[in-house]
């Protein structure tokens, strides 16, 4: 199996915060790799390093055999790496179709406008937006905007797709639908790196899991292995969210 993405001792520091620390892992072609970790573990920063929003302080990122370390986002996109955002970033005053057409036009194949329209329609259909093509992006519901993120990334016909919490904020029916969509995308030969807080969903979807804590890789392996790893369990019990939950239930009792 060839590697589609290789990280080699990648680090990034923001002032006093070591957001990503000496991270090394590889991803195979066609794989769904889950990235989990408590809030502030550096998952989204890692995405920003991969697609060129930030340049790493040290280390190398190789994508499909090309060194993309520190390249501008639009160059990385051209190599065939697309992403969705945790906080949706629609082109608000453009229609769903136009949003997807931008993805198709400037993605991996650098398509001319007419051809891009077809690819955009197809991508919108996969994400379940084909009934809202002419709707302005700002009028979509939150679930619709999440789908738009996915459709737009897909329209770029990427080799690797980075999904940043596409399930967050969706109701159970929508989650089920979205998981189906992600599976279908993988069947088309796209590798997927996914960040998700919904444990059941990510354990179910991923071929392998990488656990990130305080910017460092804590564990890596099959979902079942990772779930039983004592260091991982400990890290999650130290999760401020979980602490808050415990506190909440304590208050409830008193």
């Amino acid at each position: 199996m060839t590697a589609i993405l290789e990280l080699d001792h990648v680090s990034k520091r923001f002032g006093g915060l070591q957001a990503v620390n000496d991270l090394t892992f590889a991803m195979h072609e066609g794989e769904i790799l889950g990235l989990i970790g408590p809030n502030g573990a550096g998952k989204s920063t890692l995405f920003n390093l991969l697609n060129g929003v930030f340049a790493p302080d040290s280390g190398r990122i190789v994508f499909g055999g090309i060194d993309i370390t520190g390249q501008a986002p639009y160059l990385v996109a051209r190599h065939g790496l697309a992403r969705t955002h945790q906080i949706v970033q629609p082109l608000t005053n453009m229609t769903v179709l136009e949003n997807c057409t931008v993805g198709a036009c400037f993605g991996r194949d650098n398509l001319p406008l007419a051809r891009a329209h077809d690819v955009a329609r197809e991508a919108a259909a996969i994400a379940g937006l084909d009934d809202r093509l002419e709707m302005l992006a700002l009028h979509l519901t939150i679930a619709g905007k999440k789908r738009l993120e996915l459709a737009r990334a897909l329209a770029a016909q990427p080799k690797l797709l980075l999904l940043d919490e596409v399930l967050a904020g969706l109701n159970p029916t929508e989650i089920e639908h979205m998981i189906g969509v992600i599976r279908r995308i993988r069947e088309r030969g796209v590798s997927i790196l996914i960040i998700e807080h919904l444990m059941q969903a990510i354990m179910n979807l991923s071929d392998r899991i990488v656990v990130l804590v305080s910017g460092e890789k804590l564990a890596e392996g099959l979902p079942a292995e990772v779930a039983q790893n004592s260091a991982v369990i400990e890290a999650y019990l130290g999760d401020p969210k979980l602490a808050a939950e415990l506190e909440g239930s304590a208050q409830h009792v008193s």
Partner: protein, 320 residues
């Protein structure tokens, strides 16, 4: 493009501008329409940055003034004829804008807008102290330069038709960019620049090209305008209020639309002409412009076209 109705609408507008004063040999109408072509050219090209890429450029007048200077200087000091001087002005100013653009387009929002005012002030200060261009007293050209165009009276008609042609090209340029992949990239930048870059739009290059393209035709119009007056000086060439008026006009008509900006420019020019000549409102036009801008921003953010589109949705398919 030939199959699209909008192409023929632009052609009709150009024909009307040519025919209206020519039929009755109406010199007054010609002068009024000449000024309208200048406004339409400036506003349409400004719209490439403002309406498409979402960058507010207070300095569009620099293109107009520099184009005027280059053209007048080439005609006066080097004895060039009008056509190559105009072309040189367009190319020269576009190239300069591209280089400036790569620098100042790293700034965003209000910072970019402020830097464009800096460009106006900087260029004006340079020209005021630039000996070959006559410093602050400017350049006069002798009426002899009108001879190759068939004498002064005929030259004014030739210049008018050239102004109309430049306006027509501006409208076609705006339209051609709007329906192209380049235009789609610019619109994406205007909506959300970071998201556009992540989707693969080469943002620095696209912005610099748009800035440079928005300089070419205003430079030629500036060349024609100052050749026509046979005189150019820094305070006229780099008059910041004309830049501001171009912004008002673009917003009045509906930024991002081709029709709206042209219509806004035409209406504004007519209104301005009326205010300037009426006894009661003489030199009141900037006050009116200010009030208009406030009303537009508060009540009609889509401008004239936004209003028309919402009232008559079908027009959206025909009028770009």
């Amino acid at each position: 493009m030939l199959r699209r109705p909008f192409f023929w609408i632009i052609a009709l507008v150009i024909a009307a501008f040519v025919a209206a004063p020519a039929i009755g040999d109406d010199v007054d109408l010609r002068e009024s329409l000449a000024l309208a072509t200048v406004y339409i050219t400036l506003a349409s090209n400004l719209n490439l940055m403002l309406g498409y890429a979402g960058y507010i450029n207070f300095g569009s007048i620099v293109f107009f003034g520099l184009g005027g200077y280059i053209c007048v200087w080439l005609v006066d000091a080097h004895g060039w004829s009008l056509a190559p001087s105009l072309f040189a002005a367009g190319i020269g100013v576009s190239a300069l804008a591209f280089i400036f653009g790569l620098g100042i387009l790293r700034l965003r929002g209000p910072f970019f807008a402020l830097s464009t005012i800096g460009v106006v002030e900087g260029v004006q200060a340079f020209v005021q102290n630039f000996g070959p261009w006559g410093g602050s007293s400017g350049i006069y050209i002798s009426p002899e330069v009108f001879q190759p165009l068939g004498g002064a009276a005929r030259a004014l008609w030739v210049i008018y038709f050239a102004l109309v042609a430049t306006m027509g090209l501006s409208l076609y340029l705006s339209y051609a960019i709007k329906i192209s992949k380049f235009g789609l990239g610019l619109l994406a930048i205007g909506q959300n620049e970071d998201a556009a870059a992540i989707l693969g739009v080469p943002t620095p290059r696209y912005k610099a090209w748009a800035y440079s393209a928005s300089a070419f035709l205003p430079a030629i119009t500036g060349g024609l305008y100052f050749f026509k007056s046979a005189f150019i000086q820094p305070s006229d060439a780099f008059d910041l209020s004309l830049s501001t008026e171009a912004l008002v006009v673009a917003m009045l008509g509906g930024q991002g639309t081709v029709t709206g900006v042209a219509l806004g420019a035409y209406l504004y020019e007519e209104l301005r002409g009326y205010l300037l000549t009426s006894e009661m409102f003489s030199h009141f036009q900037l006050v009116i412009a200010g009030v208009l801008l406030l009303v537009i921003v508060l009540f009609f953010p889509g401008g004239l076209m936004g209003f028309i589109y919402s009232r008559f949705p079908r027009t959206q398919k025909v009028l770009e």
